[in-house]
Point group: C2
Amino acid sequence: MTKTNSYITRLYCPKCGKTRAHAAVANLCGCGSPLLAQYDLARASREMDTRTFAGRAADLWRYKELLPVVEEADVVSLGEGFTPLLRLAGAGRSLGIDRLYLKDEGLVPSASFKARGAAVAVSKALELGVKTLILPTNGNAGAAAALYGARAGIRVKIVMPESAPFITRLECSVAGADLYLVKGLISDCGKIVARAIKNHERDSSPWYDFSTLKEPYRIEGKKTMGYEIAEQSGWESPDVILYPTGGGVGLIGVYKAFREMRELGFVDRIPRLVAVQAENCAPIVRAFQENKSESSFWENSSTVAFGINVPKALGDFLALEALYASKGCACAVTDQEIISAQRELAQKEGCFICPEGSALYAAAGKLRRDGRIRRDESVVLLNTGAGIKYPDTQEIAPVYLELDAEL
Amino acid sequence: MTKTNSYITRLYCPKCGKTRAHAAVANLCGCGSPLLAQYDLARASREMDTRTFAGRAADLWRYKELLPVVEEADVVSLGEGFTPLLRLAGAGRSLGIDRLYLKDEGLVPSASFKARGAAVAVSKALELGVKTLILPTNGNAGAAAALYGARAGIRVKIVMPESAPFITRLECSVAGADLYLVKGLISDCGKIVARAIKNHERDSSPWYDFSTLKEPYRIEGKKTMGYEIAEQSGWESPDVILYPTGGGVGLIGVYKAFREMRELGFVDRIPRLVAVQAENCAPIVRAFQENKSESSFWENSSTVAFGINVPKALGDFLALEALYASKGCACAVTDQEIISAQRELAQKEGCFICPEGSALYAAAGKLRRDGRIRRDESVVLLNTGAGIKYPDTQEIAPVYLELDAEL
């Protein structure tokens, strides 16, 4: 068997410090906190450097030594990762930011960054012998789990609010997952999943809880966005990275990546991280403004950016820690600003990105105006998916022509 | 100004042999044939080899010396290209093909291979000073033109059948293109475009005809799929490449790439090329079976694979030449086979590809069964786009759960 030469050593709890073996199925720590993967970075920094990655395939597995999968044969890939880091010259001029970039996660399987988490976590699940996994989802994470599960030969069960974007429902179903719809919120779906896990815990192959942050490896896939931003910037950290924040896993993953890379000697500093939320669902922003270490449940949340409609995230304390420790901040924007920003980016830059991503552009403008971003700073907007997954966000008004029309 | 070091020398007519300068706007040859770009391949083969590309950015501009754009500053890019070449192990076993691969063009901007053509052709149009371009489209080519046009600052006008996929309409409109819908076929749209070109030919900035193959550079963008397949296969040609054939530009482009690469000494042979069409729109297949050099108009065409609903292609003679010269063939499949293949690929491989792409899988099975593909041959399915762009192709049947449901 060919090895990936992963430096993974174990899982650890960022709250109570307990550790767990990585070679057995694990969910939350006994204390209720998510578990994170730990690597022998001291040894890695002696044995490899940034040149190790040069010339490797243009996907996230180029960083395989810093991912949790041990056997090459267990890697389940659809070619995800190494997405473009695009210069936004015109949009940058509009905002007064000289070096504005878009990291475009629309260009991955299922057109959402959730593919990264699914690729790495499904691979590790395959390595650990998982036969069936289940998760609640607002759509994109379910679609990605269904597709990678199909490729791995793992049975996937998905519980999704009926109101989740139709296309993600289609992806789950076409990939052969068992798809369950609920007239309720993702929190209602989570309760059904929790009961199902319990109902099957004595099965010969128990169902694996693949819920956000109850599963330790989706975050490892997402952290590769941070590695790529560094590599694509010539191993220089940008000054600021803005991230749309729902469950917070992407933000936590990017923060973990930069901490690891600093320890590895790949970069010398951690960018200021900015959590962007919608005004009608902004628990992390509220907690940040109140200087709290955890958020509280946001009642009656709603936003056009469905992926960040998360009223209370399991990993809120980790997301907030990333903001405080990186000297970043949190910022909320209105749905109207999100919709306008989506159209503006498409028209100025040809980038038709998802509303979660366009929220970042609106937020960058606010932060530039209030001085929290300076003109000469390098700023990365981490767009999490393609605009085409949400066909109902924009209203359009095409002109109808007769066959004999003249233009 | 930094140069791309393009080896382009001129445009030539593959029918009558006349040549044209590449430094001025050009459409069809006087004889009515499309024009193709010519490069000084003799000089290129002395000055570069396949190692030239190693370590370059993972997009189609890594082949810039063999693309028509002369100034780096004119390159309009959204990070398109260098899409994955995925092994389909399970699907290959089903078909009895040991080395089956999928080149996945779902992972480009606008989730369709049309992005490649638009990137290169819009870049060249910018270089030539074009201010306004117009095209008829079945959807995806229009969406790509709109997005790249927006990035380039070129005004884009699109004439589309009302029945074209809704998401492509949305992309055009959000990107700020002028979108016109017609209750008719793409041929009706083409007539409106032809009149519009004529109406504006005396404008200070005439409208540029960006129609398929009336514009010589979209094919240059598409040919990069061939370069990538060769590079990703270690500069070995696969035995067979299957391509969904509507207008035929992708097929012609891939054939052109392999001819160029053979002349450059990058590869030693040209793969057998297979044109795949739908049974209710198969003019190229019919012409191939009758050993003709041109196709005739297919009456009352219809197929679920909207992108290959082209009853008579302007470049049909070039597509047929590619089939004959490469010792390839043509193959038609039914809509039912296309829909089943789409589901089968998603369930076996986690690849939710467009119906045009899944037609290739159905066709590969037919050709394997009738002996035109052998078990030990390497076979590439060139999938032209993502399944999510066509949300209505598959019927799904999710299960509804009550909040207190047990699984």
